[in-house]
Amino acid sequence: MAAAWAMIPIQPPAASSIAEGVDKLYYLLTGITLFFTVLIFSIIFYFMVKYRRRSEDEVAPETHTSMVLELSWTIIPSLICVVLFVWASALYVRNSRPPTASTEIFVIGKQWMWHIQHPEGPREIDELHVPVGVPIKVTATSQDVIHDFYIPAFRVKKDVLPGRYTSLWFQPTETGTFHLFCAQYCGTSHSQMIGWVYVMEPKDYADWLAGGEKTESMAQQGERLFTQFGCDSCHVSDGTGRGPSLAGVYGKPEQLAGGETRVVDESLIRQAILVPNSIHVPGRQPIMPTYQGQLNEEQILQLIAYVKSLGSQERNAK
């Protein structure tokens, strides 16, 4: 019998730096749930036996509402909730902020597969190779409906939306093979939109990157698109073109019309390419045409990678 019970799994592998904190909170919550469930069940059972009706004409004595009791079972649950909220929120805020030096991976979800692209060039479908012990930031978008990028062993999950970037990060702590699921219903083969995450030793990962067919990096592919679509005719690097120079803009705060300041990130660059006249930079005419419908999600990501590489070159030069 004991062997039969052992067949039932009760815990998923915990293979990221995020998992431990989430599991601790999970155990605390399980403890609270067990405590109150057992408490209520025992009281009910005790009363059920002790105060069972002994004769049909039995009259129950009157009991009066007790303010002390009412207040205590209002206030104690409130305090527990406050503790849980603070704990869970602090952990969540920490878990949603990627460390600045994260390795980046780009994901495009489409019915019903995961396209994964490494900045160095290699592409994968329904497989994700990552090195152990390194923080990894995933930036994701969808070509069609809403998907959800979910790796249970890492305790991370984020919806992947059309027309927008969402991101998550994790730092694998163990090598091995783990499930990758789509956790937002996306149509007929939703349950087959699954894959594997391979966590490798950094050396093995480097070998894996170097192996396979040689491909250009995302930034190089983006650079070719930059020329092919004529972006370079306006965005000249020395700033003399009709558009602003893009060297070093990534990651810098940009003053927009209306007093708003936004840091130039993936989302803003995407917006600038697809809906250019929604972004007003003071002193510039809104003359850039839209590239909506001309570029697919993968090409937009490559262009972004190129713009980002311009920024890092400048920073390197300094």
């Binding site: 809906v275 006249n277 929604s278 909506q292």
Partner: protein, 222 residues
């Protein structure tokens, strides 16, 4: 407490109530509760509008300029007139005027309501269709902010469309009221159907007041 089962019930009295006062209070409260659901029904669209206007401000201003203020304003005047005539119809019933007078005000309200719909159809929606600015049906807009303008026009047609459906329902209700009045159903003691239909009609007027401000005048016309 009025005794139930009194020998003579006034016309229009329903058996489940104790007296006419209770019945009138119940129907007024019921209508107001219904109008609250209407607030939230339109509210869903107003919420969406508020957010998109904030996110796509320029597009919405551009889209708004495709509409003609003169028609929007004229229709606002028309609806305000119809609200006045509706209020006067109820007042005529309240003060026990001849039924001819009640019917006169009701029919005038209907004419104004129909005029609103006629203007909307002929000078706005039909022209929009010809000009190709109806999303999903006839879309040929090629100017700046095309996606956002399409979004604005979606809001324009969905909101004015749902409002127009409410106007049509209102005209139906008014028709019933005219028939009821002609059959001498109402008296200064019993005119609750008129009163609560009036509430509905005024509510539809209020919705238009906001639609006019939000869709036509948004961000100025200078």
């Amino acid at each position: 407490m009025a005794a139930h089962g009194a020998d003579k019930h006034p016309p229009g009295f329903a058996h489940q109530f104790e007296d006419m006062a209770q019945q009138k209070e119940a129907s007024t409260l019921g209508m107001w509760a219904f109008l609250v659901t209407e607030i939230l029904f339109f509210g869903g669209m107003f919420t969406a509008y508020t957010i998109y206007r904030e996110l796509h401000f320029e597009s919405f201003v551009t889209g708004s300029h495709l509409l003609e203020v003169k028609f929007g304003a004229t229709n606002t005047y028309v609806l305000i007139c119809s609200s006045l005539t509706m209020a006067l119809a109820i007042r005529s019933a309240q003060t026990g005027k001849r039924k001819g007078q009640i019917i006169f005000w009701l029919i005038l309200t209907m004419i104004l309501g129909a005029l609103f719909l006629g203007l909307k159809l002929r000078f706005e929606w039909y022209r929009d269709y010809v000009d190709g600015i109806v999303p999903g049906i006839s879309w040929a807009y090629n100017g700046p902010h095309a996606p956002g303008v399409q979004m604005f026009m979606c809001f324009y047609f969905f909101m004015t469309g749902v409002h127009a459906l409410h106007m049509v329902a209102g005209l139906g209700i008014l028709t019933v009221l005219v028939i009821m009045t002609a059959r001498n159903k109402f008296s200064p003691e019993y005119y609750a159907p008129l009163e609560i239909s009036g509430l509905y009609w005024h509510f539809v007027d209020i919705v238009w007041i906001f639609l006019f401000a939000l869709l036509y005048l948004i961000g100025g016309r200078y």
